[in-house]
Amino acid sequence: MESYYLYSSGTLIRKDNVVRMETADGRKKDLKIEMTRDLYLFGEVTTNTKCLSYLSEMKIPVHFFNYYGYYTGTFYPREKNVSGKLLVEQVSHSVEEEKRITLAQKFVEGATANNLRNLQYYRRRGKEVGGQISSIEAVRKRIYRTTEIDELMGIEGNIHQIYYSAWETILNNQVEFKARVRRPPDNMVNSLLSYLNMLTYSACLSEIYVSQLNPTISYLHSNSERRFSLALDISEIFKPLIVDRLIFSLINKKIISEKDFEKGSMGNYLKQNAQQKVLRQFDERLNKTIRHRELKRNVSYRRLMRLECYKLIKHLMHDKDYEPFRIWW
């Protein structure tokens, strides 16, 4: 199954039982509907209900992004994989404080283990990040001692702060990056983080869609309205693997530089052609495969997200305790 990334502007219509993207200047692309997993729309696109109903029928979620590449929302087709039993379990794990914190701790623990993995990789490469590693190791011990979500969130914040403080060293001090700043991001690393986090979040959502999970009920993040917060929880674990490593390689290999950014309205935004460059790298990364130890076959990074959903389902159905994904290579 494939993802389509459409950054041209034009109309999206249903034609000959496929979905066709047509631009004003007459260029067109037919999307092979049977082989499409999801769509990412970055341009100004006009569409109609005929097309949306068809996409819904084919179970294809559509992710919308604005001009700056910011996530606007997702057209989430009517759920076909519903399971009342699982929903009940999902809710009960969310409202019962004890069950919820157990899961939330696992998410934080998984994310931390992967953050450490990244740092250890660079330490082996001779970067001075030993200090951060031991600080994180120390804070990490407190994860399982927490009893409240807020406390856990605080620890997660601490870990991220320490983790990010190692970034300037990893990036060979070529770029400025002191702290995570959002809305709007103030420098290129923050812009890349915002952009890629949103893409990862959307990819996770597409995977959740195929599973029976309900995307609005989450554990680490609060169940806020108008948001698919479960995707935030799951993407947390994958950000170190997908987003962070991609940023390190984009900057260290000089694929992206200051020239690719546009300063405007107090922020720092990726230019259109740079967005495409990053997007291609992102897609490549998601399709990258790794030999899975337990399954004994090759799985793509994107597939790992799906497996995470399945593991979560097993936990919720009291089948097998959830163990977060940890980078094992």
């Binding site: 494939e2 993802s3 950054y7 000959d16 993207m21 092979k32 509907i33 049977e34 082989m35 897609d283």
Partner: protein, 93 residues
């Protein structure tokens, strides 16, 4: 797996309709790269489905559809002479 599908539909006996149907069916699963040539990554299950759909229209005595299968795209090298149509296969637009 990665496949290349080519077809030859005879225009006799209301063949235009068959041609049209075959074209539309292939388009749902594969990328149209030349007049009667399609290619793309496909799963074994989807390929079965495609074959099933085609069998409804393809006339055994007049038409022929060939499918070249390749278990991995890596073992397929491709060269272009004339117009380079590599853009057609891209998922970025």
């Amino acid at each position: 797996m990665y496949i290349i599908l080519v077809y030859d539909i005879s225009l006799e006996m209301n063949g235009a309709r068959v041609l049209n149907r075959v074209f539309k069916i292939c388009k749902k699963y594969l990328t149209h790269i030349q007049k009667s040539v399609f290619e793309g990554e496909i799963t074994p299950a989807k390929l079965k489905k495609l074959e099933q759909e085609l069998k409804e229209y393809v006339r055994d005595d007049l038409d022929s559809v060939l499918i070249f299968k390749n278990s991995n795209k890596r073992w397929l090298t491709k060269e272009y002479i004339g117009i380079d149509s590599s853009d057609v296969l891209s998922n970025f637009f």
